[in-house]
Symmetry: C2
Subunit: 493 residues, 2 copies
Amino acid sequence: MAKELKELTPRSENYSQWYQDLVIKADLAENSAVRGCMVIKPYGYAIWEKMQRILDDKFKETGHVNAYFPLLIPKSFLSKEAEHVEGFAKECAVVTHYRLKTNHDGTGVVVDPEAKLEEELIIRPTSETIIWNTYRNWIQSYRDLPILCNQWANVMRWEMRTRLFLRTAEFLWQEGHTAHATREEAEIEAKKMQGVYADFAENYMAMPVIRGVKSESERFAGALDTYTIEAMMQDGKALQAGTSHFLGQNFGKAFDVTFVDKEGKTDYAWATSWGVSTRLIGALIMSHSDDNGLVLPPHLAPIQVVIIPIYRSEEQLNQIRQKVDGIVANLKKLGISVKFDDADNRKPGWKFANYELKGVPVRLAMGGRDLENNTIEVMRRDTLEKETISCDGIETYVQNLLEEIQKNIFQKALKRREERTITVDSYDEFKEKIEQGYFIMAHWDGTPETEELIKNETKATIRCLPLEGDMTPGKCMVTGKPSARRVLFARAY
Amino acid sequence: MAKELKELTPRSENYSQWYQDLVIKADLAENSAVRGCMVIKPYGYAIWEKMQRILDDKFKETGHVNAYFPLLIPKSFLSKEAEHVEGFAKECAVVTHYRLKTNHDGTGVVVDPEAKLEEELIIRPTSETIIWNTYRNWIQSYRDLPILCNQWANVMRWEMRTRLFLRTAEFLWQEGHTAHATREEAEIEAKKMQGVYADFAENYMAMPVIRGVKSESERFAGALDTYTIEAMMQDGKALQAGTSHFLGQNFGKAFDVTFVDKEGKTDYAWATSWGVSTRLIGALIMSHSDDNGLVLPPHLAPIQVVIIPIYRSEEQLNQIRQKVDGIVANLKKLGISVKFDDADNRKPGWKFANYELKGVPVRLAMGGRDLENNTIEVMRRDTLEKETISCDGIETYVQNLLEEIQKNIFQKALKRREERTITVDSYDEFKEKIEQGYFIMAHWDGTPETEELIKNETKATIRCLPLEGDMTPGKCMVTGKPSARRVLFARAY
């Protein structure tokens, strides 16, 4: 494993290869036999489960309930919302048959042409259409509103170029779909869920995010407004970490979802939708990890503390075990997940490297001298700093250290973003800086044409119109036309 | 709602219609626009979430970890295991295309024939094939074993006749897939998971089950042995509630999954798989519910206690609220989920009927006289018995009552099963009794031919060879040939 660790490409050499190496070597995920679809391995899935639990609690605290809607959607539903179909038609997997027949010439199974579906079905790329078709029967009166549903599900988008976690044909996500009696209430909901995502990103993933609203071209297909949280990765590129859409009455109209309001007037229901996905695991990796492996924030680490015994004899191991058992029990009482790794088929050095690779926030090690001195060695993964301290009160020390690590990696990511976020007024400087991996606040004339031109020439997109920051007007860096405010540009994943 | 309640068909009149009515009226699930695929509504999904949490904890306690494998499986994989393909080929949804194109003649979207997949993909009906294809790369040595993975996922089987929860084209489930170095270890694992399922069924669902092993014809396609738990529904029919399969080396051989054992010898890995699904919700409903609605076991009820105020004025409501707030807080401290329903748009009578329909185990009601007397009315859903008791110590009373209800509904179901399980020696009596809804222990000559004949003539199948009970040999009730032991026959869902 020490050997395998060496094979992790350094970030400075090839950031993209480093990411790919890390995902594989840390046992997070791998490619499957189906192009673009990944296998999420147990260690990667354990991170997703932690994310799910925390997010699900937050959704419930804000009044949402979970439900489940069909995987398959009639093809015709997709075309009911004009913009939605434009956004998704080209990347849909289409089910046309429902039966195979065994071929007795030895070639296995073939599609039975007799069993062609009357109407083709698509595998959901997102569920607005099937859900709003269902809501039509759930909503008659304002008393039936709001409906605040979420679903945890797999979705499928046939992407041409895929990367583990960041962009895969199938991915896991949650999608909230709410229906409201008023425009205002729906807008509040969409912004509230953006807030929930931002809180999760910053306080659990330790990943600072910029909250903003998307430009028209970058909106979700069918939305009037898309609220986003954008994070900066270590290479200065942006990653869209979560979006919350105010959908207006578009889906209400497309699926004829009407209700009678308090005054007896009939109106279409107002909608939002919002989602985050297994992409967040990619964001987590690229925010904090280093050339030695993963750096996981303690709030999301499947194993928060690992304890490794260093021993010369079975007798010494038993002495260490005796000492460590109490520490393990006390840490568990504090709600800390801890693993005592006394496997005898691996040397301590291998274990050290392995848990560094796996990003375990705190490593404790105890050897013969520690036994004599009632001490233990503590290593923190974020800074790789080691110190030897007394076993008395070690549990509280570790508890505090986990919180400090959580804060430290957030601060480190925040500092990086602040250092690499600049204000630019000339398009030449923009081109130069975007190449070097910066978030750039620049003036833009507000037209999709200029946005498109910038994108084509520099690969930079408008990540968002930040909710906070400089709101003074100016002149577009490209056309010189009036600009209402600076917007955030970056290259993005 | 009182009106709607009346519309619940009585069980004695039409058991099947009663079930259908109840699923719809209790807001558990409904049919979707896609034939055979259901929408699981929030109240139904809340029960599934409770099931998931408990099962997931049990899987982890027994050493399993979660992972996630692709939804889509290359068609050719299915045919690698000869029996497996025979079992599933006819009910697979097949994906043949991955792109739609917008049709500008106004008819929406059509399949783009240019974007036909090179190899067709099926939507997983179960994941043995894709998982064992993945395991090939995970397993080299006995040190890599056992692999103890589970996944929570949706699967698709194109069933002709569907019923909400009991048999749907898409359903949610968990599927465990384990790999072992020895036959013995895999057999122990398969039996262990049958035990986990039985424990869950009996202690959480309050549903007594018979543990047994399937006859050859009823085995999972590709298994050497299928361990099952079988429950009796109120109409005397059996429901297979969970299965755990010992797969031998069938998938190891089909996907060439070999390992080097301790002696340096190469062998194929041994496999198990095991699963339970949203079908359990159907089983739960049909085990305990009555003509007034659901009866949920307290261990799985999303709302365990509902408190309803009965008031004449806003002032009186406030007094009740003050009194009830403390009770609610204390119940929550005991880990009991409680809802205080003070909605003013519904009368208490409507609420009573509604929570009966929803199966809330304990209902508390407080009115003006209760306020004066420091009392509260307690109604238990399982027996519909009411009593008025002092508010002092009400929390402990309710806590104990919930446990009593849990036990009572289990005992009631057990008593029913015992009364309706009989031993039969003549085929004529068998035919008569099976018609009346009995579990029948009878002798059978052990041949698939006799099994098939019985099935065709009586619609009864061998549910299992029970692990416990009468093991004495006898004569087959049909052919008179020797029978090794009695087996369990029933009609089944």
